[in-house]
Chain length 301, copies 2
């Protein structure tokens, strides 16, 4: 049995790519060739048609970027918004990513305790049919984390220091030992993570740390060397390759950097304007390749 | 337009009941007359039949307890576990609760930021078809909370001090100002809540505080008087009516106390053993009535 984290690291090295392609189907950014904007006048009534358009879009993005990434990350909210039709598109997207040899990190930020957390794990990390990993929220403590780690072939990414402007509200509160809440959360996760270490020395319990706070990212990496990171906030949110360098060890291991809009909707960027909107897949491939190389260029490989 | 919180308080007073009936369909606790246990040998293959059994069970529980409660709280994980069939049962359950004049608090503990949090709000608090309120997780800060409050007819219940044994791991960390994280979270929520106050003086931004920590519950109530509480942990988890008294103001307002298993599966209790298992609805009604009276008995009404 191969640990989730070892499998992820192996795929990253096969592809020589440390990026993660987010699949966040923002409806108002879709090419007209994929989604007829008339459907959006009454999205509740057109959920099925919209969900089908998203599936088509996702398959094109996956097909186009599979060469440049080990993992894709569907953001669940965008699928849940479309009801059962959206969830069907989510599962078909997951299946398509697997067909293309990719791992799937489901971004659902689920959290609950005991039997309820276990029910979420059964829903999204089921041994036969679930995704490979899921984002979770650690606020409930240990009870809310270990139920997601029972199957060693699956992983969980706990929010640690998030990329958004208001992440400081709770995560940066100062503790009486001179540390901040996110540092205490880091040490708390690292303690649990010890019980789920793969052969690579990284744990199936991973963490989410934003590229938008490079100083904190470097501090957290030094504090918890066996925790693998998912790093959002590159590109659209302002983080660059130099900002995330500290997340990687000397072997170039330790993190994947996510980009969603910057790849999905690359066709809208000035630099790809020579491509027609229906060639959004080609633009996504070029953006993914560029990002892959950008990250690799700052590593001492 | 009536604020969610005013609507909730009005319904509570109509029913003179401060309980919330959780709808947590634990499959292994279901009566044999509702769910054929043979289906559970391969639940992934029998999702549709299991989801239909749950819908029947929920309707019976709602029908039986509607007289004794203002609000029901489906725990999303149990429905999500059953895929799209489970989600259809969830929405049909919500609709049935509305038909019976009840409010619905969806327990999904969702959390994300900006446009993604907005997508969750559209999924579960949609003006025409969504639930009345949703539980959320505050770890991401303000960005992760306000998107759930845009529609004043809807409410959000943020986790504050949860009822589980390991809630102390993060929530009780000591801050450099002598307070604990949950106290800082309480003040943080109260600040946001000011912008969403109804005529009753309570806010559409409510909080989840466990009955299992009565000392903390009383402290938090004193700290943030305009925040309404959802209080889990009564009964099965060990909290009693005296433990939750401090949550209520002099008018008997300020909280609903949740019970899930203690009502749903009351038919399994020693005290209702004279009722046959297929009379689980009757047992649930008796347990709900008893709990309602138990809570009211400690209030100075």
């Amino acid at each position: 049995m191969k640990y989730f984290i070892d499998n992820l690291i192996e795929k990253i090295e096969e592809k020589n790519s440390r990026i993660c392609v987010g699949l966040d189907p923002h409806l108002n950014l879709m090419p007209a060739s994929v989604l007829d904007s008339a459907l959006l006048k009454n999205p509740q009534e057109n959920q099925k048609e919209i969900a089908e358009a998203i599936l088509y879009f996702n398959k094109e993005i996956i097909e186009a970027t599979a060469e440049h990434t080990a993992v894709v990350k569907p953001q669940m909210a965008f699928y849940e918004k479309l009801g059962t039709a959206g969830m069907e598109t989510l599962w078909k997207t997951i299946n398509y990513a697997w067909q293309k040899g990719l791992l799937v990190l489901l971004d659902g930020k689920r959290n609950d305790i005991g039997s309820t957390a276990k029910a979420y794990a059964e829903a999204y990390l089921h041994v036969d049919s679930g995704a490979d990993s899921l984002t979770i929220n650690p606020y409930l403590g240990r009870d809310g984390i270990t139920p997601f780690l029972e199957d060693k072939t699956k992983g969980a990414f706990a929010l640690l220091k998030t990329s958004n402007p208001s992440s400081a509200d709770i995560q940066d509160l100062k503790l009486n030992n001179g540390k901040k809440v996110y540092e205490a959360v880091a040490l708390f996760l690292a303690k649990i993570a010890e019980d789920y270490l793969g052969k690579t020395g990284y744990s199936n319990l991973a963490a989410v740390v934003g590229a938008t706070y490079p100083k904190e990212l470097a501090e957290i990496r030094a504090l918890i060397p066996s925790i693998f990171f998912l790093i959002p906030g590159y590109g659209a949110q302002g983080g660059g390759a130099k900002d995330v360098k500290a997340a990687f060890d000397k072997q170039g291991r330790g993190a994947v950097i996510n980009s969603s809009r910057g790849i999905n909707f690359a066709y809208r960027k000035e630099e790809y304007k020579d491509l027609a909107p229906q060639n959004f897949g080609k633009a996504a491939a070029l953006a993914a390749k560029k990002m892959k190389n950008d990250i690799n260029s700052v590593l001492d490989l």
